[in-house]
């Protein structure tokens, strides 16, 4: 009888944990959906939200722009050198440029940008929202008739997404220029050959896919921390747990998006 009870308790705990896990994903998807709906409605954009968006972009993108650009350039340069010299050793120089652009511009740089922003801003957003939840600030705002979703969260999602877009674009351009210089040297003569390779890689599908992927990355790095912060119980000691859960879930989602994008492109 005691054994039966133990099994029953174990199953109940497992079931509760699974349900909570599923509820977490459910609320995340629901939050993402409502964020998207809000972001697309013009009513969201007023002077108050605009100011929050600007600050979010300033802290997420502008502040780290020089450092991140430098880092992206260094990473790109090293990877380009490795790929180009290896390809030359195997007599496959023709494919070096294409490989480099595909690897860097389409895959590595957007992912690294998302991870960079995740480490820097997502953790901060997650903590802030969890603390707001603990201090009942959200409820207080609602009592005052202010929609916290519209004033606090949606601007962060928009600002974060735009930041990831901007950083990805700048680092991608850097990689494209570096790839040209490393492969062809700093002369303009080989631009037609470069153009040919670019035309071979980027078609409408790839461009749309790249844009969509970067937007998804940008949304993930803001939506997941906010959603996890909101879900945290109103106890101060739950804040670190909420941040940890948010970061793990964010990492998982980023990888999932990347794998899905690779699978769609190459399988």
């Amino acid at each position: 009888m005691i054994q039966f009870q133990a099994i029953n308790e174990t199953l109940t705990r497992r079931g509760a944990a699974t349900l909570s896990w599923l509820r977490g994903w459910g609320s995340l998807i629901w939050f993402a959906y409502s964020a998207l709906v809000h972001a697309l409605s013009p009513a969201t954009y007023n002077s108050a939200t605009r100011s929050v968006i600007q600050k979010q972009i300033y802290f997420t993108a502008w502040q780290i722009l020089p450092g991140y650009t430098l880092f992206a350039a260094l990473l790109s340069f090293v990877i380009i050198q490795i790929v180009v010299s290896t390809a030359r050793d195997f007599g496959l120089s023709d494919f070096a440029l294409e490989t480099v652009i595909r690897v860097l511009v389409l895959e590595i740089l957007p992912l690294v940008t998302a991870l960079f922003v995740a480490l820097r801003s997502s953790a901060a957003i997650n903590t802030e929202v969890a603390l707001m939840n603990v201090h009942n600030e959200i409820k207080a705002l609602e009592d005052l008739g202010v929609d916290a979703m519209q004033l606090e969260f949606i601007p962060r999602v928009i600002g974060g997404t735009l930041s990831v877009l901007a950083l990805s674009t700048v680092s991608g351009l850097m990689a494209l220029i570096l790839a040209y210089v490393v492969v062809y040297g700093a002369h303009p003569w080989n631009f037609p050959a470069y153009t040919l390779v670019v035309s071979k890689i980027f078609d409408l599908g790839i461009l749309l896919g790249l844009g969509f992927k970067v937007v998804l990355f940008g949304m993930a790095v803001t939506v997941i921390p906010i959603s996890e912060g909101l879900r945290a119980p109103s106890k101060l000691f739950f804040v670190p747990i909420a941040v940890l859960r948010g970061m793990v879930r964010l990492f998982f989602v980023l990888m999932l998006i990347e794998v899905a994008s690779l699978a769609l492109k190459y399988i």
Binding site: Q54, K55, I57, Y58, A61, W62, L65, F90, G91, L92, D94, F95, L131, H135, E137, L162, L165, A166, T169, V170, L173, L176, A193, T195, L196, V198, S199, K200, F202, D203, L207, L236
Partner: protein, 325 residues
Amino acid sequence: MERAPVRAPLIKNLEFKVGLLMVLTGIIALAFLIYVLHARGAFEDSQALVLTADNADGVSIGMPVTFSGFPIGQVRRMTLTDEGQVRLTVDVPEKNLRWLRSTSVFTLEKPLVGGAKIRAYTANLQDPALVPDAEIPLHTGDTSQEIPVIVAKVRAILENVQAMTQSGSSIDQTLTHVSTITGRMSGPYGLMEGVLGDGEKARKLVDTIDHANTVLKSVNGISLRVDGMLGKTEQRLFAEGGAMDEVQQSLAQINVLLREAQGSLKKADAILGNAEAISADVKGATTDIGTLRAEVDDSLNKVNHLINDINRIWPFKGEGELTLP
């Protein structure tokens, strides 16, 4: 527990900085989009041509078509017809059309390492221009497909070579024979030894010829002596009778002697005949032997003459002719 409200520090030129970043991002994205459209020939008139092939292994959309190593066009579309033929639609920008003529040949080459390549060859750039949407066969030169055939052929050749070079083969035997013959030719009797088989036989032939020469010399000597003797006999014949018997006897002896000479000459002649037959195609040797024979003939004629003389002088006419068989 109340939290002190977090005041964001006042940021200088916040709007300008964020605006700059956003505009920059927008410009980069737009410029790249335009660049990609330009790269894909969106702002350039191009002409399509259709390449038909049985197999389009290794061909991909966007693959360049090269002329003299320079890309002049790209594969835009690949379709499979109901007949199982592959149709590759290639876009060639207007400015590159001058490299392609109606007589241009297109090949699909698949190297062992690396991707396939479509190459265009134009023999004469003055030929009439390519018709729009022209259908041109694509020749496939697949190295890897030809390798098994080449290997099979090479193997057959190697087997033949092996059969030719192994010991006991016809070529080996022939070479051994040639080696034997040339080995003999390098012996003291040269070509004759090579033809006759060994040095011993050649030596015999040469000995025989020498012998014949010696015999002829002695016959010459004998005939001289006979001449002298005839003079004496005549003297004695006309001077005094009684010596006739002696003379007759000595003449009979001479006759015997000459018959013996004839016999030995016949033998020599037979050997020479054989030698001539053996070395029929060896011109030099034949000429030598011919000369020899002529000499022998000459000698025999002389002897005949001698005997005729004797017969003329001698009233007891006997059988005195010597002929060479």
